[in-house]
Amino acid sequence: MSTSTSQQTGIRTAAGDTVEMTYAEAVRAALAEEMRRDPSVFLLGEDIGIYGGAFAVTRGLFEEFGEERVRDTPISEQAIAGAAIGAALTGMRPVAEIQFSDFMALTMDQLVNQAAKIRYMFGGKAMVPLVLRAPLGSGTGAAAQHSQSQEAWFAHVPGLKVVLPATPADAKGLLISAIRDDNPVVFLEHKLLYRYKGAVPQREYTIPLGKAEVKREGTDLSIIAWSIMVPRALAAAERLAREGIEVEIVDPRTLRPFDEETILASVRKTGHVLIVHEAVQMGGFGGEVAARIAASEAFNYLDAPIRRLAGADTPIPYSPILERAAVPQEDDIYAAALRLVREGI
């Protein structure tokens, strides 16, 4: 229910112009359409070919495009990232998949010291148009090394763009933009979202990188949330509405570049802010969001302190009970929002 709300807000098209698909299908559709359109686009990554990817996202692409353009790699994350860079520097548009975002830790030198900086170091005379896709997040029982949310690392790096879609329509439109973008883009898909369904426009469309979207309008509280926290916040908002609290939900969708204006406009309107993300709170990107609000003139509109609700200060545990407790759930959002609006804390 919340998902379909978000879809409808997301892409303003008349009902008949959309098709229902999952988030995973939307990612796949973006890849396929861009590969059909542009011969310089190709995919590389571990087990993305006949296996179809660890989360089945690339299933069927190998069959359509062949092993040259849907290229299985050895288990060599540095080489995957580096190969994407070398190809991007010389005229191709690689889309590399890292099997879990956790393993992007292995690509940090290539991604941060090479891809992100090459253009600047070369005096603006080169271009590294690549996309590094990876699934992030907890909730699958895969424990500490397969469940992280490290978007804050990437958002701290000039030269990168960082995208975290929350809906199928956003996933497709943003991924197409990412592929067409002339910069290195980190595209982070939440594992739990892969099965979420939503309406996706049938026509060709793109969603610009760096544009937030109001996923739900409201007057009492602004929730700033991204990725899996968007549907959770939407679900909490429905319950809060029954308590007479109208929540506005703003999804930045892209953390870098960051659409500050849409967020400040919402804060000015509601006077209350709750920032929600799955990543560990300490040092998370929520700090950046809070700091921007606290430094802006929207600060003067605030009726309560800026609140964050985010991951506990721990690696993600295996036990399902602990795993759920380690990151914000719908109930936690509901409770935090209620307290903030009712008690101002």
Partner: protein, 351 residues
Amino acid sequence: MTLPTPSSPQEQNADAESAASLSRHASLGDLGEDFHPDELRQILGTMLRIRAFEEKVDELFMQGAVHGTTHLSIGEEAVPAGALSALRPDDYITSTHRGHGHCIAKGANLDLMMAELLGRETGYCRGRGGSMHIADVDTGNLGANGVVGGGIPIATGVGLSIILRHTEQVCLCFFGDGASNEGTFHEAINMASIWNLPVIFLCENNQYGMSMSVQRATHVHSLADRAGAYGIPGFSLDGNNVFAVRQAVREAAERARAGHGPTLIEAITYRYKGHSKSDQNRYRTRDEIADWKQHDPIEQLSRYLEKRGLLTSEQIEQERMQAYADIEDAYAYAQASPEPKVEALLEGVYA
């Protein structure tokens, strides 16, 4: 019915002596004689317990009774069973995502393993780690690892610690064929080589790194060829022949304890089950799987023991029953164990 002659272990870069001592054992009769019958029975028991454990875990996953994912080592039991039978209890291991067999062969308590898989407070990791992180540092099991190749540099560090502490331990480092393409493999083995560290790098070549075959992922005839890049001895052997594994690891351990540095061993084996629960086996044929089952390590050992009159078929059956019974006990223990408490979420992040 004898154990088929193992594909004669290929020595790649060793000095002539070790090579010779290894090929001496190409005929199985000789290999068997190194063993006391009790020890053989114990090795068989280890292999059976690994298989029984994995089968139970498979069943639990199929039922959706266990959370997360798992990587089963059915078909690969001879590697850990043979390798650990050649080491001392105070030696170390580092393990992988496919690590249940390593744990069991290292002597882990099945109750605590099963409790960990069920995410219970009584598990090895208090339910915080799960299948991919079972460890028992006190007994030298330095843990499974969810990062392919992630444990290899750690093993090098353990070797370094051993020489700095002047103990005569060794560290046995398990990793897969897929992991041998990670940068960590290269850096860590080179470092162990230049410092002559007592580490045994044991590659479980089960033919695939998830879906990519070792033939597609590398251009070498044998992964043991890579030893040449570090100037260390490299051996390739039949990983379904528990004697061959044991022998190679024993010799590598002797070299390591004598200060002659690390060895790279490739144990050729096969996983029967999918890579993990999501695997549809689209990258290999049923025939290939069926062929490998003809060389099942447990079957081979059982037949050999029976043929040689070392164990009767009743005794073997008894071992098997015992293994499955142990696993059921472990499962009962795990099920009766408490779940972790939410209030303890942050415990154990910091010392």
